[in-house]
């Protein structure tokens, strides 16, 4: 039972971590909270579902979903955030909420308000591990998430453009004086964050076999909570925060009450913030 809940928690935790990485990177470099992250997740999922229905190719569908998420992220930076740079931080925040409402309304118009099943049925085989039933889909989600997080970490720490993003996050004026094009760095950050959210959306559309215009709302909120839980701006913090949140809510649902599943995630957030106000990995100055 415990192991079962840990595995279930790990699966949702990986998804929260992917969304949280988008939040934390964008906050780290621009100091803004991109509340439209959940809608990008949803658009990624819908694009994959529609492409799959049209072509029958799951790889093409996933690529299309991630590509649309990336394009949306870059457009969002251009339209909703770049013109507001240098203004009071509340203004881009309102712009982000506006973008989020706009995108979910747009999805309702384009895709209709009802739930859609994933057009391809997976029949994952399961096996037992110390009494816990694990299926291949869960393993695949964990593996893909870990892979994406590893690629992101390697990109940021090992490549020239990745280090430039870190440099811009540390001191944007010094980065400009070093010849770094900060607008390019902002674009790459939005692109990466959106790609991760899009991938998370596609995986969850497969896992729950359901896609709807409001599917991004809760994962968006929980990804945001995970980013804060881990220490906003910290990459390892976002990953740990996501996993803690996913496991906490599954354990709470299993041992206390399943009808309060979503509440446990936020209770975990409140508890951590009371004990560690800067988050698990946040800098303590």
């Amino acid at each position: 039972m415990l192991i079962q809940q840990l595995i279930n928690g790990l699966v949702s935790g990986c998804v929260y971590a992917l969304v949280a990485l988008g939040y934390t990177m964008i906050f780290g470099i621009l100091g803004i909270v991109n509340f439209a992250q959940g809608e990008i997740y949803m658009f990624g999922a819908f694009t994959a579902v529609l492409t799959l229905a049209a072509t029958g190719n799951i790889w093409l569908a996933s690529a299309a979903g991630i590509a649309v998420a990336c394009v949306l992220g870059v457009l969002l930076e251009r339209i909703a955030f770049r013109p507001l740079r240098g203004m009071h931080p509340l203004i881009p925040l309102i712009s982000a909420i506006g973008a989020s409402i706009f995108l979910s309304s747009l999805a309702r118009l384009l895709f209709g308000p009802e739930d859609r099943a994933f057009p391809f049925e997976f029949h994952p085989s399961s096996f037992y591990f110390y009494g816990a039933q694990i299926n291949q889909l869960q393993l695949a989600i964990i593996a893909v998430s870990v892979g994406l997080m590893a690629i992101l970490t390697l990109f940021l720490n090992m490549t020239k453009h990745g280090k430039a993003i870190i440099a811009v996050a540390m001191d944007s004026d010094a980065a400009r004086l070093s010849g770094i094009n900060v607008n390019r760095a902002y674009e790459i950050t939005f692109l990466l964050g959106s790609a991760l959210s899009g991938a998370a959306g596609i995986m969850m559309a497969i896992y729950y076999n359901s896609t709807s215009p409001s599917m991004g709302l809760l994962p968006g909120l929980k990804g945001f909570s995970a980013a804060i839980l881990g220490g906003v701006g910290s990459i390892p913090g976002a990953i740990i925060g996501g996993l803690v949140l996913g496991i906490a809510e599954n354990l709470g649902a299993a041992y206390i009450s399943s009808s309060f599943k979503d509440a446990f995630a936020f209770i975990a957030l409140v508890l951590v913030l009371i004990l560690l106000p800067r988050g698990i990995m946040g800098s303590r100055k």
């Binding site: 430039a164 540390m170 001191d171 400009r176 004086l177 010849g179």
Partner: protein, 242 residues
């Protein structure tokens, strides 16, 4: 080489620079001296493109650069070592140097230039894997200069290189600045509170007060001027008091 004409800069409602004009010839060291808030740093920030001027022109070898973004100005050959060093403190010394070469694509020569920097500032070679934020003030100033030099500029803007440093470290830094000018032919525009030091090293100087150039000339003349001696070199106080 560099020509600034009638530069005006506003920060919001406040005018920081009120029609300053100055120039730097190839291979020359020029000092800007003056008190706190006189607008010296703002002039450097406008030349490197970090702040935009309201009016006036900035010409580099007869090309207008005042509307270019900082990365383009750096590519045109002006490197700016900002006040307070502004290193990427959480990254290693080596990473800081590599980021200085961000605009370049010739990786073989970049590697070569890192070795050159480690010869010029041997301490940077010893501290290669250390985080920049853990360096001492003098080491940080050396790294900040080396980071900017990694872009291979023809001209260096130096903002308060002696700030917060012990006199012995300051003279080491000034020795390196002199060497870069003499051996590499690097033109240098130097902003400095320590007027005595700046007027000793530079060929020419400008005195900036409340956003205007109030005096200019060869440093040999400026050093002799009574006004400068009293206001910036701390001489002649006795006569004033008595």
């Amino acid at each position: 080489m560099l020509q600034v004409r009638n530069l005006h800069i506003y920060y919001g409602q406040i005018q920081a620079v009120k029609g300053a004009s100055l120039h730097v010839k190839p291979g020359e060291i020029v000092a800007l001296i003056g008190g706190n808030g006189a607008g010296k740093s703002t002039i450097l920030r406008a030349i490197s493109g970090i702040v935009k001027s309201t009016s006036g022109s900035i010409l580099l070898s007869d090309t207008e650069i005042s509307s270019l973004p900082p990365e383009r100005i750096l590519k045109n050959g002006i490197g700016h070592v900002p006040e307070g060093r502004r290193l990427f403190r959480g990254l290693t010394v080596h990473d800081n140097l590599m980021l200085g070469a961000y605009s370049r694509n010739d990786s073989a020569r970049i590697k070569n230039d890192i070795e050159t920097m480690e010869l010029l500032f041997p301490i940077l070679g010893k501290r290669r894997k250390q985080l920049a934020g853990t360096l001492s003030g003098g080491e940080q100033q050396m790294l900040a200069m080396a980071r900017t030099l990694m872009a291979r500029p023809r001209m260096l803007l130096l903002d308060e290189p002696s700030m917060g440093l012990a006199p012995i470290i300051t003279s080491q830094i000034y020795e390196k600045i002199g060497l870069l000018n003499k051996n590499e032919g690097l033109s240098i525009l130097l902003v400095e509170q320590n007027a005595k030091l700046a007027l000793k090293l530079a060929h020419r100087g400008y005195v900036i007060e409340t956003g205007r150039v109030v005096m200019e000339g060869p440093t040999s003349e400026l050093r002799e001027s009574n006004e400068i001696q009293r206001a910036y070199l701390g001489k002649g106080y006795r006569e004033v008091w008595e």
